[in-house]
Amino acid sequence: MNPRNSSTSSSSGASGSDTRIRDTAWVLVWTVLSLATLDLGVGLAFPRHDLQGSASFFNRGLSNEGKLRTALSAPAGESPLLLDYGWIGAWDDLPTRAVGAKRLLVASYGMSFSHRVSERLPELDPNIELRLVGGPGAPLNHAFACYQEDRARHEADVVILGVLASSLPMLRSMNQLTWAEIPAIYTYPRYRVDEGELVAIKPVVSTLDELRSAAHDPDMWHKFVEQMRNHDGYFSELSFSESALDHSIVGRVLRRAWGQRHSRNTNAQAYQAGTFDPESETVRVARAILSQFADTARADGRLPIVVLFDNTSLDDLDQALSALLESEEIPFVSSHEIAPATDPSNFLPDRHFTPDVDKRLAAAVLELIRAHLPGRRTDVRRGN
């Protein structure tokens, strides 16, 4: 006689279910352990303070506060961030007037795009002297603030203001810490249009020395951060403040993703239906800046020229600003007519225009100078 099988279908089903739950629990444990190992391993492989090299992908998610403190405490010449460039007023040894054989002093304000074009001008016309003022990745409000600070310091005949499409929304910021992953840390004012007037909110920290002092002065640091919190449109507490996320690769990457999302959403406030929103604060302030730039330049007896760099789409920037420039008869060059952004061959791998495009834009600027300052024409050597 065979003994009855004491196991029933329900009990074998129950034990099967228990096995599956147990296996799933073990899978979860191994997943968490593996993730922690990956986090630790990648963290050891890529040093935390390397913001430029191979570790930069993971370290761009460090807190902005953490990046800043690391940069300020690094030995001279070893800072992972650009410390010395772009501070408003901190420029010396620049030409103040055209001397010698030079007949024309051109002062150019902006970022690398406008400087690369301006640097071509003497190649096309050897009578031109250059006074270049700006900062790496500088948005329009920085360029304008530099122009205003510089007005009394030179006797330029022509002043050029560069406007870059990709950084136009950032004129709602007060420094690059809040929107750039590898920021230069100079500060600049934020401008607002208040009852038709352009009003500046000046940064509480405006020099590198003041920033270094603030890093050791809790009250000053608090004011610096508080001003960004209240007036910088890109400020995000999660991205700025140091926290435990800085110590984990996964945490840094998550913060980086968050920061990018935040920047994209903030940028998007300047856009409507895929192009710049004419009613947005960004475009209204940009127009007010360009208008005041032209008015003050003319009051100083200078020729104002605006160069619009449409580097992200066909002609968004032109559509947003050209009507104002035309109505106020401000001479301008629009890059989309010379080098459309839809043609990748117009760009270098680092997304600057190619030297050939820079030269063509410079030739267009030179045409404007010659057309508006006929009395100052000289024998000019036309570029190819």
């Binding site: 739950i21 191994w30 997943t31 593996s34 993730l35 990956l38 993703a257 990018q260 043609d343 791998p349």
Partner: protein, 567 residues
């Protein structure tokens, strides 16, 4: 509730969905069957309305029309409540979604959302639509009551025509109207006529192609006698608007999804773990791979000049993976979310790039659409029953209309024609070879079986060569204009210049792609999706950790809208 960012759908990989899903699931698990269905219906309407609340009216109207048509086809008459509930539902949608606009919430920051200053500001847009809806609704109910006396065959045909006409009419207006007008304009101009731009300002509702096809299949199946109509209107509304598959499929058959909605669901541990896995793997495909490839592909296909044949070839091949990961990733997430509710959706992709012939491809790619086209278009046209030429005609017509389903543009028509051409060509080649020939059997394969094919050199060559043919089809699909098709085809076959574009997909994207390809090779050879259960637990854990790590890194890619949202 209007979003200040209308036009942005809730993406499965968005922060909004990250909060939406746990709330919905929490409510779902706390409720019983009927209440679960009501909660899911409300959640589905919130999910769809988040994009643009006005177009909820369209879904509700389509729901009501097909519900009534289904009853009239299947039963021939309406009970009192069966008519008045849909009528009230559509009228409420006309008032609440279109006529009454409320700027209650403004999304001014990424997070948290803040209430608008004018929180209590309601705007009344007019009585036009609600009155028209009421009048049409009453007329429709009157017609239904009168039609009860019509002979059965005539009545069935009449209401089937009404259902198809209504759904195709919605598609025609919202999806194809401007395409038609543009072509008329072009034709008139080419004949020397002078005509002003005829384009209308019509927004394409997200998911319209999916839910109209889904509801059409309901009434057609009732007409064929393979399905009985349901008299539970709100459950039927859930079948139409079920949020996991509402905006990008799979296109569910009523015979599969409706019974699962009508009956209480049981939650099984296996199904829930499988659901979590599908959601994770779907996110991996979308976030880590598709979004990572998008930037490079967009750079090539968005360029007006300055690309080489090598760029076109690489971008097209990567687009093949982008669209696969984007679409199958969405389907995986949809199936995973549904599994967490105890509902099984149809599997929409089955390793399509292992196909060696077009017929095999269409049994593996967008299975729900190809099945729909087969059952409701190809077979009614005659299928392969009419002999050679008629079969080719039916294949071409089905695939051209399938291409047009994807979008109102000539490149989609071309793509459909190309796919139809491939089907005809392979069929023709097979008919020339003897019956016993393995190659012939392969060319006309109906053989997506559980058994994997041996990895012989011939097999690999077949897969690679058919993949190349598929990729050319994707060039037609992805191109932004006919001129670009001509230009890039010419570059592909004549240009010997190496890469011109310096931008490349990132290393982590390519690593994620390699992981996906490796996983699918293992799945193909195992012949089952359950192959992971045979993998030792520590290795499984490490693989899942790698997937999660790559998803985290992929979050740094700029998110792109799911490609099939535009269809």
């Amino acid at each position: 509730m209007r979003s200040a960012r209308t036009g942005v759908a809730v993406l499965f990989n968005s922060l909004e969905f990250f909060f939406f899903l746990p709330v919905v699931l929490g409510l779902y698990y706390a409720l019983r069957h009927r209440a679960q269905n009501r909660a899911l219906l409300a959640a589905s309407y919130v999910f769809y309305g988040w994009w643009d609340v006005r177009f909820l009216f369209l879904i509700v109207a389509s729901t009501a029309i097909d519900y009534l048509c289904g009853l009239m086809i299947g039963r021939g008459q309406l009970q009192r409540r069966q008519g008045w509930l849909p009528f009230a539902w559509v009228l409420a949608a006309a008032i609440g979604c279109v006529a009454l606009q409320w700027q209650g919430i403004r999304f001014v920051e990424a997070f948290p959302y803040v209430a608008a200053d004018d929180f209590w500001n309601f705007t009344w847009k007019g009585w036009g639509l609600p009155l028209a809806t009421a009048v049409l609704g009453l007329v429709a109910l009157g017609v239904c009551h009168a039609a009860a006396r019509v002979p059965e065959a005539t009545r069935k045909k009449l209401f089937l025509i009404v259902s198809i006409a209504a759904n195709l009419g919605i598609l025609a207006v919202f999806k194809y109207c401007n395409f038609f007008l543009e072509n008329v304009e072009t034709a008139v101009r080419s004949l020397g006529g002078n005509v002003e731009a005829l384009r209308l300002d019509i927004v394409l509702p997200v998911g319209i192609s999916f839910y109209t096809f889904q509801t059409m299949s309901y009434t057609i199946d009732i007409y064929r006698g393979t399905l009985k109509p349901t008299d539970r209107f709100l459950d039927f509304a859930l079948f139409v608007a079920f949020f996991p598959q509402l905006v990008a499929g799979p296109i569910e058959r009523a015979s599969n999804l409706l019974p699962r909605i009508l009956a209480p669901r049981r939650l099984h541990f296996d199904a829930m773990t499988r659901g979590v896995f599908l959601i994770t793997f779907g996110l991996f495909k979308k976030v880590a791979i598709a979004d990572g490839l998008a930037r490079y592909v967009d750079g090539v296909y968005g360029a007006s000049a300055g690309v080489s044949g090598a760029d076109v070839a690489l971008a097209t091949m990567l687009f093949a993976f982008q669209i696969y990961c984007d679409f199958s990733g969405y389907s995986d997430i949809a199936r995973g979310v549904a599994k967490l509710m105890g509902i099984d959706l149809i599997r929409n992709f089955n390793l399509p790039y292992f196909s060696r012939s077009p017929s095999e491809f269409w049994q593996r790619w967008h299975i729900s659409l190809s099945g729909w086209l087969r059952d409701y278009l190809y077979i009614p046209l005659g299928g392969n029953r009419g002999g050679g030429l008629l079969t080719y005609r039916n294949l071409l017509l089905t695939m051209v209309l399938g291409g047009l389903w994807h979008g109102a543009a000539w490149n989609f028509v071309l793509w459909g024609l190309y796919q139809g051409g491939l089907l005809c060509a392979f069929r023709g080649l097979a008919s020339l070879a003897p019956e016993s020939n393995l190659a012939a059997r392969h060319l006309t394969a109906k053989y997506v079986t559980a058994r994997p094919q041996p990895a012989t050199l011939v097999f690999l060559l077949q897969v690679a060569s058919f993949f190349a043919l598929t990729c050319y089809g994707w060039l037609l699909f992805r191109a932004t204009s006919f001129e670009q098709i001509v230009q890039y085809t010419t570059l592909l076959f004549t240009d010997t210049v190496p890469w011109m574009l310096t931008a490349r997909p990132s290393l982590h994207t390519l690593a994620a792609l390699a992981l996906l390809i490796g996983t699918e090779i293992i799945e193909y050879r195992a012949g089952t999706v359950r192959f992971v259960q045979n993998v030792p637990i520590p290795i499984r854990g490490f693989a899942y950790a790698s997937i999660l790590f790559l998803i985290t890194i992929g979050l740094c890619n700029e998110p792109t809208q799911f490609i099939y949202f535009q269809f």
